[in-house]
Structures are given as C-alpha cells and as structure tokens.
C-alpha cells in the first residue's frame, strides 16, 4: 500500500519540493552552526598543539597563558630550564593587535623565541630566525614575501601556519619576543608565560598547566557562545519538525475523504498510519540530503571557519527521521480518527 503514499507525494510534488527545500535549509543551518561550534572546539586544540610544548607556566593568580596578561621577567625561563625533567624552556608573550589585511582585522600576536619551545612549525616558508620576521596563519590571506605591520612596525612574512586560530577564527601571528619586548613592553625583558618541553610539576610563584588545562582555559571565553549555538540548534530542529509536521498534517487534512474511503473499503488504521509516516520519512530524508548539499555549498562562503564533524552527516538523517516521525504524529492521529462515514454523501 506504500504506492498510494508515493503516488500522493508525486501528486503534490510542488508542496513536497517546497517542504523539502524549507526543511533542508533549516537542517543546513543546523549543520552550519554545528560546524561553527566544531570550529570553536577544534581551533583551540590546534592552536595549543601548534606550540608543541608540554607545560605552560603562568604567575600565580593568572588564569592562563591566553586569557591573562600578567607579566614577569623573561629570565624566569632560564630558571625553569634548570628544573629536573625539563628539556628546554622559553618565554612567550601573548598579546593582541589589529592589523590591516585589506580591512582592519584583529589578530592574536604570539611572541616566541626563534628556535626555542613555542616557535611554531610552519606549513610553508621558514620558521622565525631573527628580528623583523613574522610567521602568519594562512587565514590572514598573507603568504611568504608579504609584509605586515604589527605594533606599528613592519614585519616580513617568512612562513605560514595552517589552522592556528582562536577566539572564533581570529588569526594568529608569531613574532620574535625581542621585537615584542621592544614594541609592546617599552624594551622591558618581560613575558606572559613560560613554555617547556619535558615535564615540570611545580615552580615557586607560578602555576603549571598541562596542554589539556590550557585548552580548557582557552575554550572558557567561548563557552556562552557554544551553549547559545547548542540552544539554537535545538530551536532549528524544532522549526524543521514544525515544517514537516505542517506538510504532513496538511496532507492528512486534504486526504480526509481518501482516508474515509480507504477505511470504508477495509484498509486498516495501521496501514494508513504507515503510509503517512513513510511520507514524513521521505520528506525528512530528502530534506537531510538537500541540507548536506546546501551546507557543503555554503561552508566555503562563510566568513567563519565551518568544521562539520563527519558524525553530524551520519546523525542528521537519523535525527531527521525521528523529527519527521515525531512531527507527523498530529497527521497520523487525524488519519486514524477519520470517520469512514465521511465517504458517504456528496
């Protein structure tokens, strides 16, 4: 009896198409904001991993290397390097600036000691080696050989990194710490954190953070944004359910007499309900397919990074079917409660 439902979808194909596109768009939005949340989540780990260090030391009372600007003498790094278990240690400074990348753009500025722990691995070009050089993330749009003004001084781009962003896609640039001290700390030999390779568990006056601690700390400022995105995602599922529910309910209302005739001629309620449920599932799955296509088309044109996890593409059709079935309950109820006596009369 499924052929009756399939024929009905063909018969009302315009409405079905509109329903698929509308629901698909909502599903696509859900996928995209899932991608935003994924990007927020992943970029932090990538940023921290880019330093390729084991421990982060910040002054007692400071919240973390990326979220606090408490400064201290950079020479502390030399003392840290003497601690048993530490292979190497170097001072870093984490700052922010706004630079001209065609338009005014905020960047995260990380001051590192060239060749020491914290100096990033580059995707193209060379690592930092001397004053006046800068390594930029590819998301700045700059390439090796370009120039960039940071803290009022021009730096030559010698290398690029990939995917080193945080704070919702804000690109990161790396400059030598001696330049930072000269430009941002009035020549004072200061730092905001010490990074080490090798393990250290404590250091007087400082708190020692692992990479996981640092990642967690860096995700904290975006916690509200992430939870808001999660809430919006739920709202979008509800909107999608509303669209599917409306389409299926309208079908049920318009087919009231058909249902009455089918019941009067011996079709069971279960058969009618399955027929409508199949329509809802087809609509939901078609919308999920449309959503995947839309999301893949729209992702590149978004100004923020969109990292849709593979699991989302797997889960989407399953959730879509659940949403479709749930939202079609009103239509199903209407179908099974139709009085077959309606088949009589003119």
């Amino acid at each position: 009896m499924l052929f009756v439902s399939l024929r009905d979808l063909q018969w009302r194909r315009r409405r079905f198409t509109i329903g698929v596109l509308a629901t698909g768009l909502v599903f696509a939005l859900a996928l995209l904001i899932t991608g935003f949340a994924g990007s927020f989540h992943n970029e932090v780990k990538r940023a921290v991993d880019a330093f390729a260090v084991d421990r982060w030391l910040v002054p007692d009372g400071a919240s973390g290397p990326f979220t606090s600007a408490a400064v201290f003498p950079a020479a502390v790094a030399d003392e840290v390097a003497q601690v048993t278990g530490v292979d190497a240690a170097a001072p870093i400074a984490v700052l922010r600036d706004s630079v001209d990348l065609g338009s005014r753009t905020d960047v995260n500025v990380i001051a590192v000691t060239p060749g020491a722990p914290g100096s990033p691995a580059v995707r193209s070009g060379d690592a930092l080696s001397r004053s006046g050089e800068i390594v930029v993330d590819a998301s700045t749009g700059l390439d090796v050989g370009d120039e960039l003004d940071v803290f009022g001084e021009t730096f030559a781009v010698v290398g690029t990194t990939s995917g080193v962003t945080y704070y919702a896609g804000t690109p990161t640039v790396f400059i030598p710490i001696e330049d930072t001290q000269r430009l941002a700390f009035s020549g004072q030999p200061l730092a905001t954190a010490v990074v080490t390779t090798g393990a250290i568990s404590e250091f007087d006056g400082f708190q020692v953070l692992t990479n996981d601690d640092t990642i967690e700390e860096l995700r904290r400022p975006l916690g509200k944004a992430t939870s808001t995105i999660d809430f919006l995602r739920v709202l979008l599922w509800i909107v999608a359910a509303g669209i599917i529910g409306s389409v299926v309910y309208l079908q049920a209302v318009e087919r009231t007499r058909d249902f009455a005739v089918l019941k009067a001629t011996g079709t069971t309620n279960g058969t009618l309900a399955i027929g409508l449920a199949v329509q809802a599932i087809i609509l939901a799955v078609a919308a999920a397919v449309a959503a995947v296509v839309l999301a893949l088309l729209l992702s590149p044109v978004m100004s923020m990074d969109v990292e849709i996890p593979t699991s989302a593409f797997v889960v989407l059709p399953i959730v879509a079917i659940a949403v479709g079935l749930l939202s079609s309950l009103a239509g199903l109820r209407r179908a099974v409660t139709v009085d077959p006596a309606l088949a009589f009369g003119g």
């Binding site: 009756v4 009905d8 018969w11 058909d258 069971t268």
Partner: protein, 328 residues
C-alpha cells in the same frame, strides 16, 4: 457468494441541535441475492444511514442487521475490517476515487490493502475495468475521466474482492442521462451475477431497474376518510415525537400540550393548543416525522382529519400559512 440481508426492528437515533432525531425507526427488511433493492426517500429519510449500517460503518441505536451469517452490528476489530473488505462493496455518490492514482491503481487499492500480491491485484483490476468498458482508460487519473467513467471505476473498485453485497449511494446523482444508462446496465448485471445490490437514491429513473423499492419517506395518507373523534384523559399521549404522522387534529374541548423532547430527556414546550385550533399538519403535509409529541393536559376531545379532508375543510390554509402557524 450468495448472501441474504435480514434487518429487524432497526432504530437509528442521533442528536441534532440538541434534539433526538430518528431517521430510521423500527425498519424491517429482507433482501436476497440477485435482487436490486432501491431505497427511495427524501433527504434525511435515512437512506444513506441505512447503507452506512449495512457497510458496517455506522452502529445503529438498536435492532438487528444480518448479512449472511454475520450480525453486522456486533462486528469489531479484524472481523469488521474483513467484513468491509470481503463482504460488501460500496459505490459512493461522489465517486471518491483517489485523485493521485490512475483508474487501474484505484481498483488495485482494496486488493493490495487485502494483502493481494501486486501482479495478481493488477491483473484482477484490469479484468474489472474491462468488465465496465474502461479498458482504454486504465492509465487515466480521475480528473481526466468523465463522471460516468469515474463512477464505473468506482463500481469496479467496489467489486475488487468480489463481494456478495454491493451498496450504491446515489450512484447516478452526478451523471447525465447518457452516463446513467451505462451505470444502470452495470448495476443490473452485477445483480444478475448473483449479488445483492442495494441502492439508495431519489432518482426515479432507477425504479424500472429495481426488483423491489423500499420507500423510507413517511407518506401522508392521501385517501379521504371520515373525521375521527378522539377522547383523551388528562395526561394521555396523542402521538409521540418521531412518529409517522398522517392526520391533522382540531381541538374541540380541553387542551393539548405540544412538547419537544431534548437529548437529555427533558421537555421543551412548543405550544398549548386550545379549542378551535388545529395542530399536527406539517408531518402529513411534507412527509415528515413528528418533530414533537402531543399530550392532553386535561380531559380533551380532538377531531382527526386526513390531509385531504383538512385542506377541503380549511381552505384558507396554504402551505405558507401552514409553515408560519405550525405548532409541530
């Protein structure tokens, strides 16, 4: 395949505007295979209601309806579905074909719903459509078929499970005379094949087709009879709400209370009729059942007239005046 229909003391009562209405009140009917039985009557006389009961779609208030070995009024669940599918085929007034399906698919539907395999269902549907002369129109949707062709598809659908009982609800209502002829021929042929065909209609053109005509509209007694004097003690009922009425009454002495009964059993006084006034004229004039009951409030004498005598004696009473002055 042969199936007899036996209806005994059938009563259907439902609520209309807060008042109980009995379109069918104590109906008895017997019908046999091979017959075409016409249910004639005005709108509201219970034709479609009776078909709905025979189709096991409506449960009567009381009475017995036997179709073959089945007591239709007690069918439930799977037995009810089987009865609707296998025992009875219905041809609806408005064709009621599914617009998204072709003629062939419309006939296939009840077969597939009954678990018949697709190929078998298609072959059977083709045969049925050929039997109603629609071999060339099988792939057309209802919207591309004439009214007569749609009704023939509906007949083919009704015959899908080869039911012994076929019901037709005003099957010629939307057809012109050329299309009616084709449908009538098919209905007659269906009966001649050994089925019982029961058709509700107010189309007089169908009467020659019928083996039996059951008129469900209460008929006024048009014969002239001498007036009858009726003496009532206080509290005596002259007629009840829902009765078939063929007499008009004039109050000679005493008083008659006209009361309409509500769903909850309480009464609503419609009028008090005093000596020299008449009542009860609407039912015999228009072929309706009594819409209220009449009861004497004190020792009362009334004279009962047939409608013809009443008109002869009270010539000033026109139908318009009758309606304007009606007490029941």
């Amino acid at each position: 395949m042969t199936t007899h229909v036996q209806i005994r003391d059938l009563v259907v009562e439902y609520s209309s505007g807060g008042y109980p209405v009995r379109p069918i009140n104590g109906l008895d009917l017997d019908a046999s295979p091979g017959e075409v039985v016409l249910l004639l009557g005005a709108s509201g006389s219970g034709k479609t209601t009776l078909l709905s009961i025979l189709a096991a779609i409506l449960t009567p208030t009381s009475g017995s309806v036997r179709v073959g070995d089945a007591e239709v009024t007690t069918l439930r669940g799977a037995a009810l579905t089987r009865y609707r599918r296998d025992t009875v085929g219905v041809v609806f007034q408005a064709f009621n074909l599914i617009p998204s399906l072709t003629a062939l698919e419309n006939v296939e539907v009840p077969l597939r719903a009954g678990g018949v395999k697709r190929k078998v269902a298609k072959a059977r549907a083709k045969l049925l459509l050929e039997s109603v002369d629609l071999a060339e129109r099988m792939t057309h949707r209802p919207g591309d078929l004439s009214g007569g062709q749609q009704q023939r598809v509906a007949i083919a659908r009704a015959l899908a499970h080869d039911p012994p009982l076929v019901l037709g609800d005003e099957p010629t209502a939307h057809l012109d005379y050329i299309q009616v002829e084709g449908v009538l021929k098919i209905l007659r042929r269906i009966a001649d094949d050994g089925r019982l065909v029961i058709v509700a209609t107010h189309d007089d053109r169908m009467i020659p087709l019928a083996d039996r005509v059951v008129n469900l509209t209460p008929r006024a007694d048009v014969e002239s009879r001498p007036p009858v004097r009726v003496e009532l003690v206080a509290g005596a009922e002259l007629f009840a709400q829902g009765d078939v009425g063929d007499l008009v009454y004039v109050v000679e002495s005493g008083e008659i209370d006209i009361v309409r009964t509500r769903d909850d059993g309480t009464g609503e006084q419609v009028a008090i009729v005093k000596p020299g006034n008449y009542f009860g004229e609407l039912a015999p004039m228009f072929g309706l059942r009594r819409s209220a009951g009449a009861r004497a409030t004190e020792p009362t004498v009334v004279t009962a007239y047939t409608m013809r005598d009443f008109r002869d004696r009270f010539q000033l009473v026109t139908p318009t005046e009758t309606l304007a002055n009606a007490a029941d």
